[in-house]
C-alpha cells in the first residue's frame, strides 16, 4: 500500500476494496481497476489514492491474505497435538479462507514476493506431512510433493463444496481427511 499517503483510508473502504478485489481477481486476473472500484462501491480515484498502482494493490492483497492464512495456521500449531488432529484442524481453519487461499495460488505465479511467502507456508505443511509419516498416518512410499499437492487441492475443493452448498463445513473437512487418508472406497 502507498506508504506516504496524505489521506488515511477508512476501514470500511479498505475492506470493501479487498473483498471486491479478491472476488473479482479470482474469476479474472485481468479485471480492471474500474470494475473493482464499482464492485467495491467506491470511486476509482479512491483506489489510486491508497494504492500507487495496480501492482501495489495486488501485492497488498497478497500479503493481507498471507497474514490471514498465517493467523489461521498458527491457531492450529500445537506441537503436543497428534499430527492427525493438526491436519483436521487445518482443514477446519483454512478451508473457510478458500477464496483468499485461491488468490494466493493464482498470484504466486506472477509475484515473487507472494511466491516466497506461499512457499514458506508450504514449509509448514511439509513439517506436518513429516509428522504424519512418522506417526504412520501416511506411507513413506508416497512422495512428499504428492502429499502436499493433495492437501493443497483438498483445501480448495473443500471450500468450493461449501461455497456451492453441497456440503457443510464439517462434512467437507471430514471428507477431505477421508480422501487423503483412506480414499473413497467402500
Amino acid at each position: 500500500m502507498k506508504t506516504s499517503g496524505k489521506h488515511v483510508i477508512r476501514p470500511a473502504t479498505l475492506e470493501a476494496i479487498v473483498d471486491a478485489a479478491v472476488r473479482l481477481l479470482n474469476v479474472n486476473i485481468g479485471a480492471s481497476l474500474s470494475e473493482i472500484a464499482i464492485h467495491a462501491g467506491i470511486g476509482r480515484a479512491t483506489l489510486h489514492r491508497h494504492f500507487r498502482d495496480r501492482n501495489d494493490l495486488i501485492r497488498f492483497i497478497g500479503t493481507r491474505c498471507i497474514e490471514e492464512m498465517n493467523a489461521a495456521v498458527l491457531a492450529v500449531d500445537a506441537p503436543d497435538k497428534p499430527a492427525i488432529e493438526r491436519l483436521r484442524s487445518m482443514f477446519v481453519e483454512v478451508a473457510p479462507l478458500g477464496d483468499r487461499y485461491n488468490f494466493l495460488r493464482l498470484e504466486r505465479r506472477r509475484d515473487e514476493g507472494v511466491r516466497q511467502a506461499y512457499n514458506t507456508q508450504l514449509g509448514w505443511v511439509d513439517a506436518l506431512v513429516e509428522d504424519l509419516r512418522a506417526q504412520g498416518e501416511i506411507s513413506r512410499e508416497v512422495p512428499v510433493r504428492w502429499v502436499t499437492a493433495q492437501i493443497d487441492q483438498l483445501v480448495w475443493t473443500a471450500w468450493q463444496a461449501v461455497a456451492e452448498d453441497y456440503l457443510s463445513a464439517a462434512e467437507a473437512s471430514e471428507l477431505a481427511m477421508r480422501t487423503l487418508l483412506n480414499g473413497l472406497k467402500d
Copy 2:
C-alpha cells in the same frame, strides 16, 4: 477460426500457434497476441489473417483441446471393461494432455461454449463414477460431485508431477488411482 479466410493456413503455422498459445495462456491468460506470435515464431499479422480476433483464437484453441480430450476419452470407452480399468486408462490417456486440460479448466470460466463442452465431458465422468459405485469401488456415501472434483484435480496433479519430473507417467497414474480409491495411508 475465421471461416471465409482468403488465405489457407499452413499446418506447421497452425500447430506453432496452438502450442505457443496454450503454453502462454496457461501461465498468463492476459498474454498479448504479440507475445503469442513471437513465441510461435510467426508474425503477428499472420495471427490476424487466420483468427478474426483474440476471442476467435481462444475459442478455436478451446474446441481444439476439447477434440483432443474427446479422442483420448473415446479410446478408453469400452463398456465391457471393468469400471476400474476404464478409470486407470483415463488417467493414462488424459494426464499427458494436462496442459490442454488445464487450459480448458481456466477458460470455462470465461467462455460459455467452452463451459458447455467441458460440462459434457464431465457427464462422461459422471457415468464412469456411477459405474465405479455400482461395482463397489467407490462408496455411495460420497457425493458424486466430490468424486468428480477429485478426479479432475488428480488428472492435473498427475500431469504436473510428470512435468516437474518427480514421477514417471506410469507412477503418476498409479498414485492417482491409489489416492482416489485407497488414500495415502500405509
